[in-house]
């Protein structure tokens, strides 16, 4: 399935560059053999957007910069520096001098204009396939308040990404995670929410109690997380807009943790500890009904719904070590899907439904990996002293996770990696970070 996704991407990039057959041929091969970790990124040019009214110069420059950062950050695109430009557009509506862009080997060209008016801003953009000289899709205009300028930039970048790859973008999205400060033996943790690229960070809780593993609702309006406010781990539901929170009423147990929403946002699956034993339960938020989904003396935890809601992937040590299993949404006899060496935990179903991301421990190293839902085609994407807790970008092409460094001064940080294992990047956060949950594209 990985191959199919990549082939799709290849085909779309090919389509975008058909006017240059020789180049396209060689790129098709490069993109089609992504398992080798080699890809030629698509060169693109984005001349700074035109300020259409006085006073919009800075905003135009900032928006252009964020669009470029989004595209560069994927590893699929490579920005051509402005110093290489032969000419720049004389205006947003002016004819494009394609020869000048072909000469510097730009394959895609993004042009745009920005007009500020009080606290409102309008952004226009067009995307061109330089070699065919054709516009890709129609020009688009976005309007919003000035303080939403980054979102507008992300939406332009999402449109460019989508038109060139044929897949949905992921830039106009947010991540909720645990911000960490202080030494290892006195770490303070609080929930934070930020744009996917680390901008616009806001804190949702203070650090008076341990908070763990926030999980976005499918629409991004609520966050489930584990809190020690009561002295014992319990699940809270937090409203993102109001930052109001309340404890989730769970089935009876000593501790509750590892919650996730169902895709309609009406049910929560989680782990409950009763008498030292951890099993998976489900609570219906509408009816308040609780159901037990597993019933063994083993540890069953980290449940995650399939996108169609029919199945749940989770980890269990019933075989003697942590392994991944899939069961029906109402429980029942699960099927083990992980059989490699080592231990497998924290499975998360891809939003596309085709892959399951997981944390793997083997020979003292931690890895983030993906496998098909039947356990085949396992691929480890990262390796370090401690990588854990994958979460999917809304388009299922990128995974974010937490990495902790070794030793007494060990610190945590967020990273992202492509599902091909390429493009490992640190996500900028002001302090340490762990347990990321990537939310949906915003509306």
């Amino acid at each position: 399935m990985i191959k199919r996704i990549l082939t799709l991407l290849t085909a779309c990039v090919l389509a975008a560059t058909l006017a240059s057959p020789t180049r396209a041929q060689s790129e098709l091969i490069d993109l089609g053999t992504l398992t080798s970790g080699v890809i030629e990124a698509l060169p693109f040019a984005i001349p700074s957007f035109q300020p259409e009214v006085g006073g919009s110069e800075q905003m135009a420059a900032d928006i252009s910069r964020v669009i470029a950062e989004d595209l560069n950050g994927t590893g699929l695109f490579r920005q051509i520096p402005a110093s290489a430009f032969i000419s720049t557009p004389s205006g947003f509506g002016a004819p494009v001098a394609f020869a000048d862009w072909r000469a510097i080997n730009a394959q895609a060209l993004v042009t745009g204009a920005v007009a500020g008016n009080g606290n409102q801003v309008t952004v226009k953009f067009r995307l061109y396939d330089v070699f065919s000289g054709a516009e890709m899709g129609e020009g688009l205009q976005l309007s919003g308040t000035t303080d939403a300028w980054r979102r507008m930039a992300h939406q332009v970048a999402d449109a460019v990404y989508s038109r060139i790859t044929g897949e949905a973008g992921y830039f106009d999205s947010r991540v909720v995670y645990v911000a960490e400060t202080g030494p290892k033996n006195d770490r303070a943790k609080r929930l934070a929410i930020m744009d996917y690229d680390g901008a616009n960070i806001q804190y949702l809780t203070d650090s008076s109690a341990i908070v763990l593993a926030p999980r976005f609702s499918p629409t991004g309006d609520r966050v489930l997380y584990t809190s020690y406010e009561s002295g014992f781990p319990r699940i809270n539901v937090l409203d993102v807009a109001t930052v109001g929170r309340q404890q989730l009423g769970t089935a009876y147990g000593d501790m509750a943790f590892s919650p996730r929403f169902s895709l309609d946002g009406r049910q929560v699956i989680y782990s409950l500890i009763q008498g030292g034993n951890t099993d998976i339960f489900r609570t219906d938020l509408t009816t308040g009904q609780h159901s037990r989904l597993t019933n063994t003396p083993a540890i069953e935890t980290a449940p995650s719904f399939s996108p169609n809601g029919n199945q749940i992937v989770f980890e269990s040590d019933r075989s003697g070590t942590q392994q991944l299993y899939i069961m029906g949404a109402n429980g029942g006899e699960p099927q083990r899907i992980s059989f490699g060496n080592g231990r497998y935990g924290t499975p998360v179903w891809s939003p596309r439904g085709d892959l399951i991301a997981f944390t793997k421990q083997e020979s003292g190293r931690f890895h983030i990996g993906v496998m098909r839902t039947d356990g085949s085609e396992e691929r480890l994407l990262t390796s370090s002293f401690l990588d854990e807790g994958p979460t999917w970008a809304p388009n299922g092409r990128v995974i974010m996770f937490a990495r902790e460094t070794q030793g007494a001064d060990g610190t945590t940080g967020l990273y992202s990696v492509d599902i091909t294992g390429r493009n490992l990047r640190r996500v900028t956060t002001p302090q340490g970070g762990s347990d990321p949950s990537w939310g949906p594209l915003q509306r």
Partner: protein, 178 residues
């Protein structure tokens, strides 16, 4: 409940600052404890309010002399012989000092995923709880909580630290109905 938590925090802080090595029956430890007591005596610090470690009914005696924690092997919740000996002492103390309630904190080292370690810490805390109950303590006096890998006391990334972190700590406090 608030009262309980406050007491738990205070005692937790005391026990951590007093001594981080877990095995109270170790001879090296005994020397350390004696040295500390000697220092206190020399400085003539009056401990009547809290009760000293030499007062067998004091929380300090419980945490320092009897030992408030037991350690576990990697990825297990089975009590060791040394652990059972410590818990025999705890059970005896709690039987005598029946005003006290106990919360057993289960912990794991950093080699593991967050969720699994929470569940593992709960198994460890429950092993201690069940052992204490088997020694005649009322189940209503003993609660458990797991911190997983969230509260290491030793910070290095080596077995010497991991061994200290794979622990279950018995935190005592005066019960509300005493």
């Amino acid at each position: 409940m608030k009262h309980l938590i406050k007491a738990v925090l205070v005692i937790g802080a005391l026990s951590l600052s007093a001594c981080t090595n877990a095995d109270r029956f170790n001879t090296t430890d005994t020397v350390d404890l004696n040295a500390q007591n000697g220092l206190n005596a020399a400085n003539d610090i009056n401990q009547t309010g809290l009760g000293g470690a030499n007062d067998p009914s004091s929380p300090q005696f419980f945490s320092q002399t009897i030992g408030d924690r037991v350690l576990f092997e990697v990825d297990t919740s089975t009590l060791t012989a040394a652990g059972r000996a410590t818990l025999d002492g705890q059970a005896g103390w709690l039987s005598t000092n029946s005003d006290y309630l106990a919360v057993i904190e289960g912990h794991a080292d950093e080699q593991g995923t967050r969720e699994y370690n929470l569940a593992l810490g709960a198994r460890r805390a429950n092993s201690v709880r069940e052992y204490l109950i088997s020694k005649g303590l009322a189940s209503s006096r003993i609660r458990t909580v797991s911190y997983g890998k969230e509260r290491p006391i030793a910070v290095c990334s080596e077995e010497s630290c991991y061994a200290e972190n794979r622990r279950a700590v018995t935190i005592i406090s005066i019960g509300q109905n005493s």
